[in-house]
């Protein structure tokens, strides 16, 4: 009997607290749709259904998401989601940027990062189905109507002549905005993998320093030791005229320097990207690294490293 009363009491208390919570219901703005993403209908349909609740100005929430405290969480996800990607305004950006976002989208879906896992835990049927994924991939595999103009061979030639003439004399390079230093010795490290990136028409080599190579040889790649450094170099693709692709102009070099204490606030890695043959630090301020971290987040279980290293490089 007392048990019964206790339960009823708790129930009423919860009801009161729950009711009180509804009083705080900050508004979720719906700014106008100014430039929606430009994609075929079947692709847009999928984005609308699966992603627009957080990545557009046309958020539609089911009734239970409108109840606090769930509403508070969803509202913050929507606001953050829109800040990262907004399919209602992205149409104003160049076609290549829109395509890049869709490549990242497909990858986040495939790696189980989008829609947000905590959202899928509640909204069980909100995930992208295998068929829908095929539709998205198929759209991106089909080349755009106007293929990217091939990288100018003349510019690559000038760059090359300039580089060999310098005969290894190091140039003055500024550290990144977050203080991460440039390491010119990257080019003498051993490659651990290479990538042909057909999404953005580049070729890449991924290098590892000695500490990285040792960890690979020991198979200790789930938590890279402090001192590990990866460098990724990207060149524009240059067709060889015979159906093959060669490395054209140098585009950029990126570093990930592991120091679990020093770089604790950025997932244990120091991030840096230097662009062009004058190696200009990327970004306008230290916030550039958020871009790196959020795109490397889906492989957090692999210590934020995408590359599957090929052993035997010693």
């Amino acid at each position: 009997m007392t048990r019964m009363r206790l339960l009823t009491g708790t129930g009423i208390a919860l009801l009161l607290i729950g009711g009180a919570m509804q009083a705080y219901h900050p508004k979720l703005e719906s700014p106008p749709v100014t430039a929606e993403i430009q994609v075929p209908d079947e692709v847009k349909q999928i984005l609308r259904q699966r992603c627009y609740s957080c990545h557009s100005n046309e958020t539609k929430l089911p009734w239970y998401d409108n109840l606090a405290p769930a509403y508070w969480i969803v509202r913050s996800d929507v606001r953050e989601g829109r800040e990262h990607v907004n399919f209602s305004t992205i149409g104003a950006k160049p076609a290549a940027v829109q395509r890049g976002t869709l490549f990242e989208s497909v990858n986040l879906i495939q790696l189980g990062s989008m829609p947000l896992p905590r959202y899928l835990a509640v909204h069980r049927d909100a995930g992208v189905t295998p068929d829908e994924l095929v539709t998205l991939r198929h759209y991106l595999e089909t080349p755009p109507v106007q293929p990217a103009a091939p990288a100018p061979a003349a510019a690559a030639e000038t760059q090359f002549q300039h580089w060999i003439a310098s005969n290894g004399t190091p140039i003055q390079v500024q550290p990144e905005w977050n203080g991460v230093p440039f390491l010119p010795e990257y080019k003498n490290w051993k490659p651990v993998s290479s990538t042909e990136r057909w999404d953005n028409h580049t070729m890449r080599q991924i290098f590892g320093n000695d500490i990285a190579l040792e960890a690979i040889a020991d198979g200790k790649i789930d938590n890279w030791p402090d001192g590990t450094v990866f460098a990724k170099v990207a060149w524009l693709q240059q067709p060889d005229g015979k159906g093959g692709i060669t490395t054209g102009a140098f585009q950029q070099v990126e570093l990930m320097i592991k120091d679990s204490k020093k770089y604790a606030s950025t997932e244990g890695w120091g991030w840096g990207r230097w662009r062009g043959d004058d190696l200009k630090p990327y970004g306008k301020d230290a916030a550039f690294q958020n871009e790196c971290i959020s795109c490397h987040e889906p492989v957090a279980h692999s210590d934020h490293v995408y590359t599957m290293p090929i052993g035997g490089a010693q």
Binding site: L67, K190, I216, V233, D277
Partner: protein, 157 residues
């Protein structure tokens, strides 16, 4: 009351059991792309090109990708000259892989099994290895050797 319970369970779920991430996101070495077998350079010595540094890389028609490595003599020369006239004895090695889709990045192709390994010495011989473990394929291919010697280095400032 029902609504409240629904909202409460939403909160519980939000804080707890999320769907499991796919296997692809867990640490993995690309084992199938390793070279296996000893590359005997000649009767006296052997050289694993993957112990060298990178000169350049390219993608071949038909879905294979090559990285050209060099020993110190070759790399130092390639990074300061455009003529491919390597000092005699400099070693270059081309490892060619079949390609596979990067399971972690739709839009990327990465090495799968090794298709061939070629080794050239400037002013000397050319050797080609295929299979797993790698075994020498007989024959001398001067044209191919010249092709490899004349790939210019990828710019790495």
């Amino acid at each position: 009351m029902k609504q409240l319970l629904a909202a409460m369970s939403v909160v519980l779920l939000l804080s707890g059991c999320s769907p499991k991430p796919p296997k692809t996101v867990y640490p993995r070495l690309n084992r199938e792309a390793e070279t296996s077998g000893l590359l005997s350079w000649n009767q006296r010595s052997s050289w694993n090109p993957r112990s060298g540094r990178v000169i350049t890389s390219w993608v071949n028609p038909g879905g294979t990708m090559t990285t050209l490595y060099g020993d110190d003599a070759a790399v130092n020369y390639a990074r300061s000259h455009a003529d491919g006239a390597y000092p005699a004895g400099a070693k270059l090695g081309a490892v060619t892989w079949k390609q596979q889709e990067d399971a972690r990045w739709f839009g990327g192709r990465i090495p799968a099994q090794v298709a061939s390994v070629e080794i050239v010495t400037a002013g000397g011989s050319y050797a080609r290895y295929e299979g797993s473990p790698l075994t020498a394929v007989p024959g001398d291919d001067t044209q191919r050797a010249q092709f490899l010697l004349h790939q210019r280095a990828a710019v790495m400032p």
